[in-house]
Symmetry: C2
Amino acid sequence: MSASPQVSSQATLAQLHPFDPLTSSEIQLAVKILESAFSGEALRYKKIDVQEPLKKDVIPYIEAERLGHQLPPRPARVLQTLFHRLNSGAFCKALLNVDTRSVIYVKELPKHVQGPVDVDEMLAIEKLCLESPEVQKEVEKLNLPPGVTVCNDPWIYGTDDPNENRRLFQCYMYIVAVDHPQNNHYSTPCKFSPVFDGITHEFVRMDYLPAGVDHSVMATAPWKPVKTIQYAHELLDTPLRTDLKPYIVQQPEGPSFTVDGNLVSWQKWRFRVGFNTRDGLVIHNVTYEGRNLFYRLSLCEMTVPYGDPRKPFHRKQAFDVGDVGFGVTANQLALGCDCLGHIKYFDGWRTDSKGEPVHLENVICLHEQDNGLQHKHTNYRTGAATAVRNRQLVVQMICTVANYEYIFAYIFDQAAGIELEVRATGILSTAPLDNEDGQTVPWGTNVGPGVVAAFHQHMFSYRIDPAIDGFENTIYYEDSVPMPQDDQTNPFGCGYVTEETILKQSGTANTSVDRHRVFKIRNDSVINPITYKPVAYKLQTSPAQMLLMGPNSFNFRRAEFASKPIWVTNYQDDELYAAGEFTNQSRSSDGVEKWVARNDPIENKDVVLWHTFGLTHNPRVEDFPVMPIEKVSVMLKPDGFFTRNPALDVPASAQSFNQSTLHQAQGADCCSHTAGSVADRAKLYKRIE
Amino acid sequence: MSASPQVSSQATLAQLHPFDPLTSSEIQLAVKILESAFSGEALRYKKIDVQEPLKKDVIPYIEAERLGHQLPPRPARVLQTLFHRLNSGAFCKALLNVDTRSVIYVKELPKHVQGPVDVDEMLAIEKLCLESPEVQKEVEKLNLPPGVTVCNDPWIYGTDDPNENRRLFQCYMYIVAVDHPQNNHYSTPCKFSPVFDGITHEFVRMDYLPAGVDHSVMATAPWKPVKTIQYAHELLDTPLRTDLKPYIVQQPEGPSFTVDGNLVSWQKWRFRVGFNTRDGLVIHNVTYEGRNLFYRLSLCEMTVPYGDPRKPFHRKQAFDVGDVGFGVTANQLALGCDCLGHIKYFDGWRTDSKGEPVHLENVICLHEQDNGLQHKHTNYRTGAATAVRNRQLVVQMICTVANYEYIFAYIFDQAAGIELEVRATGILSTAPLDNEDGQTVPWGTNVGPGVVAAFHQHMFSYRIDPAIDGFENTIYYEDSVPMPQDDQTNPFGCGYVTEETILKQSGTANTSVDRHRVFKIRNDSVINPITYKPVAYKLQTSPAQMLLMGPNSFNFRRAEFASKPIWVTNYQDDELYAAGEFTNQSRSSDGVEKWVARNDPIENKDVVLWHTFGLTHNPRVEDFPVMPIEKVSVMLKPDGFFTRNPALDVPASAQSFNQSTLHQAQGADCCSHTAGSVADRAKLYKRIE
């Protein structure tokens, strides 16, 4: 390896904030460093991104910012890269120091480790599949009418063989009956599915999909034409609704937020919008009124295993963060489509396979919304009312993972709460089913002729790195329990209290609806002067069914994070992803389940709280051909952190500010020949009496 | 009793729809009928309202409406009245036939039956308390400084004595340290609480409140002045936020709904907005695209028991529907304060104690809202996206029950879902606590100096009277369960299916998060042509901790509905309220627990589904002096009712329609001396490199 490229200016680099996302120049610099290090050997780039800076180095920096002190030197700016050496086929990871323009390390990863799918690779496999003679031979058997073609979605392969070291893709194939950029091929799945080697580009095997009610498969037969169930407006067989009137959000004085680089200030909040190719949106360094709340928030992993027990569907288990990356799949958002009002967009960068920077425009959006009332009280004696509306700040990212869409939003409110809202939408992953004679399967829902959508789960891991008034916190939970019946202490049997359980060692915990279990994060060294208890935030969990797949299944072994709703670890740099660093074709998890096993003491330490929540999604036919959003939400709320309602000083809701419109009865003038309003009727009634 | 008053016109009465709320003329008519029936004997009116019409009479009427057939005669219009005969003191209920202007029956209710509190009574008791010599004597002991006075909230008494037949009120007393219409007296509770007889107006007893950490009480001592914690903007000790910019909803073409009397049409929905003094807002006769969905929806009861085990707090158990009534306590809403956009208000009527109609203006509001995205899909190959926004119709009522506020909204969406959203806000019910030396109690939270807010529960009963494609339905639940591991049927251990349990007899069921239990309502006689299964709607429950009070407590015995999340009964007229008809000072429930005990067959019958959900509310100090909303929500969603996503035909979201604004970087022009945006930095970085 040769020396690192010349450094022309350190001063400019110093302007980057430790939490700033990757710049295009850094991609170019990384390529330069690696080209230099490998003396021009041919490399294929999979990933170039910012490495999360070391926490111990960042804390002095952000604390100086928060307190208005002189800034210490910025922590080292480090890039993480994944690439293949084309000569040897070795898959490598390298860390690069941007400040010194040098390689920190290069390591060749074990043979069984597969990196995530990248965009160029996905497109290449798709093309490979379509051009494969074996596939074309199979397609011929379909005997498709003129104008009808096929397409494919290359799927990450999943795992069913611990000795498989090849990088494999399972292509699910579909009939394209309508030539339109939004044709819904998921409505017309084929019954065969070729497997390819992603490195050698070899055809590996043709899998045939069971399309009956049992495990048997059949040879490919001519396609029986069936109408595609379309979602695109141009392709619908019904007219669009014409009675929806415009609804316009106006902010004549502009938004209430300000943005400086990636630093967002809104009401009493300050935080940094982070972005990387894996997590996509990350929230860094959240403070409220200058007090520390959270070091980092991220939806750090998810898995979607399917409940169809039949081969090859058992391998359908996406890890959308680790296998692909939400940064890579984030939609480039369009003004007026994805949000209303005054909208700020943030961009991102990724590399392509050649090391060229790719600009990801508008991948994160920021806007305000009104969410009804925040608090209200009317003094019934005087009629005097205080009503305050619930303005919120939404930071949002929308990811398309092949068929499916996820909408992730962090919603900041004026009462110091942060909601993580996840909306699932997009198109169900489908499979063929010969259902014209009324066939159904117990693990799926018929969503159209010849097509079934299998039951599946969406299991999310929300990584919460807290900093409640400081970086050493304690995690505990409180249950609400009846007091024992007792003539002295609980004579009427109505008493109830809370029972506190502190998590003293890294480990797991269950949610409990029946005990109204609430998880809290507190700072034992800061006592609230009103409650006389340590200041705390609570996590309002989203209790959910955990992973349904049995502990012997690969689905379970690869996603242990999805078997328990709460995990608590002692903070360690580089422990960011619940299922581990490499999930694609993983044989087992290498994440939270390993880290909690250290049995670290975690009381009053730098802890990380991981909340697994999810949706058991047994599709409705109404979820097809595109799914109305299904929403899950998790809240972080102050609980004894302030001395009173922090939204007290939000001005009252008033017509002068909001300019609403009163509805005038439309029937009053023109419809006297039909039944009028109740008021009219009442008048009539009175007059005649 | 004399003959009924003369009827001047039947034709006009016939114009009232069976579900129309009470008119002022009907109040006057009811008074005339009763005056006539009792030959002018002095009556004190408690309630005059429309009696829910007999379902068997209504169905032919609404079915004729739905199908466009000639209407049959309107079902008899019947009023329900509650009144005291002042001569005898008897508490009576009478049903009156409006059409024939005659008494259907009058019955004297048993001595222990207490009707709900009415507005005149509440004000009278409040005055009685303040003027009581016993109370004044006690207040004197407080030795209040000049300008400082007391006030009281008369509370329904609750129950701890099965032999108590008196109508009692427990007055909780507070210091009024600031003379202002929105002074927050709940911040400064007194330590004594007089009890009065609501009929004789006698002073019954002075209760002293435990203000330490045990059950002991003390004689009244001079008040130690303490600062009131205020919520009203004028009384805050901090300035208001000045950085919140206006957010205006404009609907230049008007709303997308039309209203004819109480009939609302919006998108493909039609329903009737009902109103009565007890339920407040009721939703009648919900259809979608002309198909029946629900006969009636109502938040029919709730109870709020407190967890402080000490006398007299054990009697604090409000039944806000049965003890008072959401119609009576509904706020008269103000344009631009409670909702944004284009707003239609509905009025209501109640009687006062003299039988005079009282106009309740703007007690229900109707408006549209935008709730983000409804569905989106991007074809990653072509980049072509379909994005549809989630317009909703909100029907809302806000009730003030002394200190607390509830915001109830039925939210109709374009994908045929109905959300019942409950927001709790207002002021915590407080108690005195001598906490200046750091005292805390295990059943409450200190929310200020000298004041504690006890743990409590809000348990709601949502009464769902379904009509899924017809009036005979079956209730069942589905659990998601792993398939047994089996080499043939589940060789990879990933298979899971649903397990169905039909409720064949009236009874109860539990929710189950761990089994992802979903309750469904189906019509066995209508088969979905795509799924091959009966059409159905699902109830997305809100699993919650049930009542914490033990089965021997009066709190439990009076509110058995709150001990189980799901109740299913065979429909019977007059079974509308989960805890029974009379809840005030009730000794035990007389509601769902009795009706399910009939063990009626309920498969494929006219059934009613009651969902108990709630909040275990262990107050945060942040909930004081006024509480940021705490939200609970229950969804009704089609599940195999349609053949595809019913919102497919909603037009796409487009900038031309939505007119959003792009945020321009504010730092770009004026802040070149500070750190610019990332894009700026990246440019700099690039240039220097």
